[in-house]
Symmetry: C2
Subunit: 347 residues, 2 copies
């Protein structure tokens, strides 16, 4: 790490327009629906008669990320992934993104280029075009705002509101890993703050670190659903934790749900880290968030289609609203799930 | 101003989901193209075969606004206007917006509601639907990110890149007012900081204060262009100042331009304030920005259509690129215009 040899250019050397040019000159348009990208008052899109899906997310330094341990390239990548994930959660295909950043003078041109390297990498991976944005200054820290646009046939769209009684509740992948990865990073960061010479102990936790630092959106599931001829009756991505997401589906669908603790898929590393920190791993799955897996419901008649699919786990079923949204613990007791959003005074 | 009697609810009392519900429960969908608004992973739009325009802006506290003298309701209103203005500058009709905010714990629920009152008011005025967003926390101050979506027939779209030699350069309304309004507010804020009991002297400057605090987008010009059967060969909205905007058009069109100082429309109040502050008012028009008027070019053959139109002033013409982008001063001397974006180290 020859940090002292790396070039560091103050952003004031380039000015706004110079910076924008530097950040956007490597953009290549990939989608036919992108008529006009960066460089005018607005981008121009053309989707013929398909339905268009729009989602947006705002990430702020110190709340959503800590630059002490999150590399800017990873942060850029993640900022695209979280929006792609929201489009995918509509059962729609992401096509374009806009990216706006507000930066304070502590950031160099090279730092912002690293951020954009991650953004470009994610755009490449998910086949989306970066079509515009805003680049501006802030008094404190870094803020990233991304808007993603996707398309779908109307019949394919999966809302949060379509779950029906007796539907199966399913998740992709495994849960809680991103949260346990964050706990590990925060622990090592605390050690670093006290003793900067001690090397962080991150060995053996590659999976959960990756889940936190380089999450991926389940865009692969669009093809799985299509191949299996499944249309989820409801779907949401898991950004805030399973508890919160299943409650969204239940509220908007006017139903209840039973989720079985023993069915919730978790990786061995997630469990091992939880044990090391004297935590119940189920808390990471329920309230941790940032896994960007998909939570969805399907009619029970589709059970055979997904049975034994390696990426899908059935974790419960939909019931009447008055039964509540319950976690059935391994011992059989039932606990009402509670949603936890952010709370600005607790952070 | 019975400020001490007003209810102040900490945002933590509501939590994220409570706050979102409070902010979005008064939304009424106005546009047929809005299939699904707030409440899912993404909004869903349907524009049939028209072209779709997307633009986004990020406003940060202390850089784009100072809450010492900008009321939150005005700020909310302006955050929509600046994006509507970008859509209009494409000669397109705005239809939807997403609004994301990051807020620190210093803001109460009532404060954020005031911000949204302004947002809703602007959505009402410009006929756009608020279809989604993100509500999150920040360590410092307020950040607002807005994305606007509009539609147009392909043939109507006005890019920055279409200006041709001999085209007339036109602006709507008058320039420099918003900047002089800002100077006035900043002067009075400095006085206030030293002597809080002295009443601010804002009398007689209603126009320029309004230009700064409650700017409007020139959505009316869409109908004017349509009625007059004019398609601007190029167009941009004036957010950064005339200098910067004409240079954008020239660069992207591969042309030069001559702008005549004496033709630049300015209000009497703008000139009076400049005089009071010993400033040249032309600086406010050229580099001040935030007027949100439209700068556009039309073929000289369309001259008769706009002559004597009360909202349009011809300020110059397009020439060859090698002639440069020049201001022809009242005395006849020619000065190369320079673009000024923001510079984070100068703010």
């Amino acid at each position: 790490m020859a940090d002292n040899e790396r070039k560091v250019t103050p952003i004031s050397d380039l000015g706004e327009f110079g910076l924008i040019e530097k950040l956007t000159n490597k953009i290549k348009i990939k989608n036919q629906s992108t008529l006009k990208g960066v460089g005018d008052d607005a981008a121009v899109l053309d989707f013929n008669s398909q339905k268009i899906v729009v989602t947006t997310d705002l990430l702020t330094e110190g709340v959503h990320f800590n630059l002490m341990y999150v590399p800017l390239k990873h942060l850029g990548y993640k900022s695209i992934v979280v929006n792609v994930s929201d489009v995918v959660a509509m059962n729609a295909t992401p096509k374009q993104v806009t990216v706006s950043i507000a930066i304070s003078s502590k950031f160099s041109v090279e730092a912002i280029e690293e951020l954009y390297d991650g953004i470009h990498l994610a755009c490449e991976k998910y086949g989306v075009d970066l079509i515009g944005g805003d680049t501006t200054s802030s008094l404190n820290g870094l803020t990233i705002s991304v808007t993603a646009i996707g398309i779908a046939n109307e019949a394919d769209l999966a809302y949060r509101s379509g779950a029906q009684k007796n539907d199966l509740v399913c998740v992709t992948g495994d849960l809680g890993g991103a949260y346990m990865g964050l706990q590990l990073l925060e622990r090592e960061n605390e050690v670093y703050k006290v003793s900067p010479t001690i090397q962080p102990k991150l060995d053996g936790y590659d999976y959960i670190l990756g889940r936190q630092l380089k999450p991926e959106a389940r865009i692969d599931m669009l093809k799985v659903f299509s191949d299996l001829k499944i249309k989820p009756s409801s779907m949401i991505d898991i950004s805030d934790g399973l508890s919160s997401e299943i409650k969204h589906i239940c509220k908007q669908s006017g139903v209840g749900a039973k989720i079985y603790e023993e069915k919730i898929p978790m990786d061995q590393e997630t469990k091992r880290m939880a044990e090391e920190l004297n935590m119940n791993p189920i808390v990471a799955a329920l309230n941790g968030g940032e896994d960007y897996e998909l939570l969805f419901t399907i009619p029970i008649a589709d059970h055979d289609k997904i049975r034994n699919h390696p990426d899908i786990t059935i974790i419960g079923h939909i019931c009447d609203a008055q039964e509540g949204t319950l976690l059935v613990a391994t011992g059989g007791s039932e606990i009402e799930l509670t949603a936890q959003g952010w709370n600005p005074l607790q952070k």
